[in-house]
Symmetry: C2
């Protein structure tokens, strides 16, 4: 028998995805940041994210920041499809001895972010458990057929990332800004061919793009923007953090070569958020990293459930899958 | 400071609902079995339900039955609006040492029910935790403006319930049939004015109808159908179980007096599931129970978080709120 920790999150989800039949009006099921379903002249993106005490935040964290993160993770998934967020539902699991004020603080943080980003909480449930958990379900909307999937990257495209990466553990993972405006703008302008949000680490997400697009993604590490926090986490190279740390919630996307000058100029006119070209898409498969720091020995990013002695996988440098 | 167990589930949800602003295209937010949103020419119903080891099922339960229950709870909520189920997403929390076969069994049970009822799993996530939990999010559809809310009951209506009640703990809570066909038929035939599913106990649900409809609901206990299991749970009166046990997942609905003969005849032509008139709607408020068993001392049904010494509430006999 195989346990979850022997498999790791990715293979667990693959195993479960094989058990799922096709649904009505389902454009894209399991395997992207959101599922995409067709209803009338619109497509709808649907996503769920858990935020769990001891895994995604520490006990005693400021409730407003927990609420921000729980809702922000879902909004970031919606952003990565190029959609606008509409409706969210939240399941809360909490110990009976928890003070109501903690839940009220969580909602306060969630609502503050929603007031900036759009979307509203419309329902949910509460249940008892030993640890505090939030399970946020989100629905977003975009015109039919326009969702920016992971699978659209083509050889010849260039690879871009928003913001700067690494060291989010020092704070950004609790107060990041989901890149909704940027994601919707990229979709409206038809500038991007594929998009994903950076939740599990840059190389890991680049690997998802490569797998789903059946192409090779080349990441030039020397061009990856490192966040100030990446320099203060520990003694590891900031670049190693930028390449593998999770929870930056930036957008990673691909752009056809002939559109890059339009993109770069228009981006500067619209957004303060930086946007940096960090690589290319080529024929082949897997992720290839140029100028990677020596200490990057194959950890491609965070994966839930994974035993620590088996973290080497296809996202690593020189992977050839 | 107030803790969750001092408040109980209902007041926790009330407190959180006060913190939520209005969303775009939201027809009905927190406070019904599902939220209702407008999506083009259709309305969508959106609901979430947690199913947690130690709360909703015991450790070691057959995985297929856990999956059936987790999806069935959501389908029952969808049924209680009169909607057809479309898309579901599942967040799973599990210990790392859990065998994959358990999750596969859960999906098998979920899929078997979906194959009978409609709807498909389109996404989800997995995360680590100490106990096994499923958080199921569901979207259903119906023509705009036709959702059967809790708030539509009118004085003069008669109160009906499907199936037979009580003792679900002996097994029905894990293998019940969501009343989707019945719920959609009631909506299509425009026979019901209000509807709710019986998840927390008959009197508790009757109280929700009364509160939301600002009317008094009279339940004639002598007419409430008791399930065979209600006679075998313990030494309490079967009728007490039928009135207060949770998780029967039957439909409780109200019908205008002039439509009851049409309802009763057409029902028999369409369904094997029994449908029984058990009371009336009157001016006023709260739930009034006629012919209640003596031992029914005020427990109106199961409420999460509630301390056991404070379970008496407005759902009880002779409540006058």
């Amino acid at each position: 028998m195989t346990t979850l920790e022997q498999l790791g999150e990715r293979k667990i989800i693959e195993a479960l995805a094989r058990l799922i039949g096709p649904g009505r009006d389902v454009i894209t099921g399991i395997g992207d940041d959101c599922a995409v379903v067709r209803a009338g002249t619109d497509d709808w993106v649907i996503t769920t994210d858990p935020v769990i005490e001891g895994v995604h935040f520490l006990s005693g964290e400021v409730p407003q920041r927990i609420g921000h993160k729980a809702v922000g993770r879902v909004l970031s998934d919606v952003a990565s499809m190029g959609a606008e967020p509409l409706w969210l539902a939240i399941n809360i699991v909490a110990p009976p001895t928890l003070e109501l004020a903690v839940l009220e603080g969580i909602y306060e943080g969630a609502n503050a972010l929603l007031a900036r980003c759009g979307g509203a909480i419309i329902g949910g449930d509460v249940a008892q458990g030993n640890n505090l958990e939030l399970h946020v379900f989100g629905v977003g909307r975009l015109p039919a057929g326009t969702a920016l999937l992971r699978s659209g990257a083509k050889p010849g495209d260039l690879l871009y990332v928003t913001g700067a990466l690494g060291g989010s553990l020092l704070g950004k993972h609790l107060d990041f800004t989901p890149r909704l405006a940027e994601g919707q703008w990229l979709r409206e302008q038809q500038l991007a061919t594929a998009m994903i949000d950076v939740s599990d680490g840059l190389l890991s997400e680049a690997n998802h793009l490569a797998e789903c697009s059946r192409a090779r993604v080349m990441v030039d590490a020397a061009r990856v923007p490192t966040a100030p926090a990446a320099h203060h986490v520990d003694t590891h190279a900031p670049l190693a953090h930028a390449l593998t740390d999770g929870e930056d919630f930036e957008l990673l996307f691909t752009v056809p070569a002939e559109k890059t000058s339009v993109l770069e100029q228009a981006w500067r006119e619209h957004f303060e958020t930086p946007c940096t070209c960090i690589g290319t898409v080529e024929p082949g498969g897997g992720v290839h990293t140029l100028h990677a720091p020596e200490e990057l020995t194959g950890n491609p990013g965070y994966e839930h459930f994974r035993l620590s002695d088996s973290t080497k996988n296809a996202g690593a440098e020189n992977a050839t899958e």
